[in-house]
């Protein structure tokens, strides 16, 4: 019989539950996993608002049972067929993580199954590798909570560069709040659609610090431009070369161009350093087509390839937790109830990658 696991993800405003199947043979690229179900519900706030921990946790608490039932039904799997229950142990927002770990502990005890705590970032990386077939890529992990350039070496995913302050997705989301554009389906998606209509590039601060990035200053800068635009204040930067006014679409376009160029720069440097020709983009911002296009141009110049997934796997989901957890389970990892405390700080390189030996 194959291996089956159920994964629960709830480190931010998405609650995801997925069931995955691994064929019984050894862990290898040719031995592909099967996604049996991958359901998700997102906590959405009114325009101009972010998601507060308390309300996000409430969303997860009140939807988790419904989603677990739906995931099992779609997968056509009974609880007694599962090998383990996997859950996001961190990093993420404390209260939502707490809601989901309680659900994981409860079903693990009800169904007498072992628990496996999973690092959220490792979930993204392993699911990205599984879906795209990238063997040993440099990974750009870009989401609302994380921005990291990662490469694998000696059973650790090592961080080569990262944000020094806010994550790229957080920068985009907060600018969406300033513009008071809707949070559905996601603020970043709506920024992307506006950016497609932008034509004029407004120069913004470019803040690469070695292999790291800083985005809080850029956000502050573009926020102040948007305020000036809304209030009709005079500002040279808000006038195009032809004398017409800069638009909100131009600001979205400029913000994307600036921060994506920074991401491409540090990713390219990491590729050169480790001698890799593959780049894998994971995380919610990884869905952005312009980021994929810019990264693709860089990879092409290096005779390399870019790997990315669609929103089912880029955006936080339960199946990536089920997959990474099952890889760990198959190589002996178990999380006792005492060890199942979740944590807001859990770095990618803390995890011993027992399922890779290359």
């Amino acid at each position: 019989m194959p291996y089956y696991s159920l994964g629960l993800e709830g480190s931010a405003n998405k609650l995801g539950v997925g069931v995955i199947e691994h064929p019984l043979e050894k862990i290898a690229a040719y031995n592909q996993a099967n996604v049996l179900s991958n359901v998700r519900d997102t906590y959405v706030t009114p325009p101009g608002e972010g998601f507060l921990p308390r309300d996000t946790a409430r969303h997860h608490r009140n939807w988790v049972v419904r989603l677990i039932k739906q995931a099992l039904k779609e997968a056509n799997i009974r609880p007694d067929q599962l090998d383990c229950i996997c859950f996001t142990q961190g990093p993420g927002m404390g209260a939502p993580l707490q809601s989901v770990v309680i659900a994981a502990r409860t079903i693990a005890q009800m169904w007498d199954l072992p628990l496996v705590g999973v690092n959220h970032c490792i979930g993204h990386i392993e699911m990205g590798r599984e879906i795209t077939g990238a063997t040993n890529p440099v990974v750009l992990y870009v989401s609302g909570g994380n921005t990291q350039v990662i490469a694998y070496s000696r059973q650790r995913y090592r961080i080569f560069g990262e944000t020094l302050d806010i994550a790229v997705g957080n920068c985009l989301d907060r600018f969406a709040r300033t513009l008071r554009i809707p949070n559905a389906p996601s603020p970043g998606y709506n920024i992307e659609q506006l950016a497609k209509k932008g034509r004029h590039l407004v120069e913004l601060p470019y803040t690469v610090k070695g292999m790291d990035l800083s985005m809080s200053g850029i956000l502050e800068y573009v926020d102040s431009l948007a305020h000036d635009l809304f209030q009709g204040k005079k500002n040279k930067q808000l006038i195009r070369a032809d004398g017409s006014k800069v638009t909100v679409e131009d600001l979205c376009f400029s913000l994307q161009e600036c921060i994506f160029a920074m991401l491409v720069e540090i990713t390219e440097r990491a590729m050169a350093h480790v001698g890799s020709r593959e780049v894998l983009i994971v995380g919610g911002v990884g869905c952005n087509e312009r980021l994929q296009e810019m990264m693709g141009l860089m990879a092409k110049d290096r005779n390399g390839s870019i790997y990315a997934t669609d929103e089912r796997f880029c955006i936080d989901n339960g199946i990536m937790i089920a997959h990474a957890g099952l890889l760990a389970y198959r190589t002996g990892t178990r999380t006792t109830l005492e060890q199942s405390v979740c944590t807001q700080r859990f770095r990618t390189d803390e995890v011993f990658v027992s399922w890779r030996e290359d």
């Binding site: 906590y43 706030t45 009114p46 101009g48 608002e49 507060l52 308390r54 309300d55 409430r58 969303h59 608490r61 009140n62 939807w63 419904r66």
Partner: protein, 109 residues
């Protein structure tokens, strides 16, 4: 709600400077819509529409337990909030008293 001999009745205890035991009375009405488990006031004021309310409790042992726990959680939440408020008030009063004492020392009164 129906009662039976194997009814699951949750309890909670708070021990600290004071001790308090929380129990539910199964003869009273209970539901999963509690006084303290709704959306935050801030989010509602921002125009949020609540689509995340808990499902209603079924009239089964486990279903009734969900409703009892909501009642119990409300009482615990209100007790703890009240304690935090009174502790905050005590600390504020202590600060005012110590500042007044300092002022008296400086003026030599």
């Amino acid at each position: 709600m129906t009662e039976d001999t194997n009814e699951l009745l949750p309890t909670a205890e708070y021990s600290g400077p004071v001790f308090k035991r929380f129990e539910v009375d199964p003869s009273k009405p209970h539901s999963t819509s509690g006084r303290t488990n709704g959306p935050s006031d801030y989010v509602l004021a921002a125009g949020a529409v609540d689509r995340d309310a808990p499902t209603e409790a079924k009239d089964t042992r486990i279903g009734r337990l969900r409703a009892y726990i909501t009642t119990l959680q409300d009482e615990v939440n209100e007790f703890l909030t009240e304690r935090m408020k009174s502790k905050g008030e005590e600390e504020r009063q202590d600060l005012v008293n110590s500042e007044e004492e300092e002022d008296e020392d400086q003026t030599g009164v």
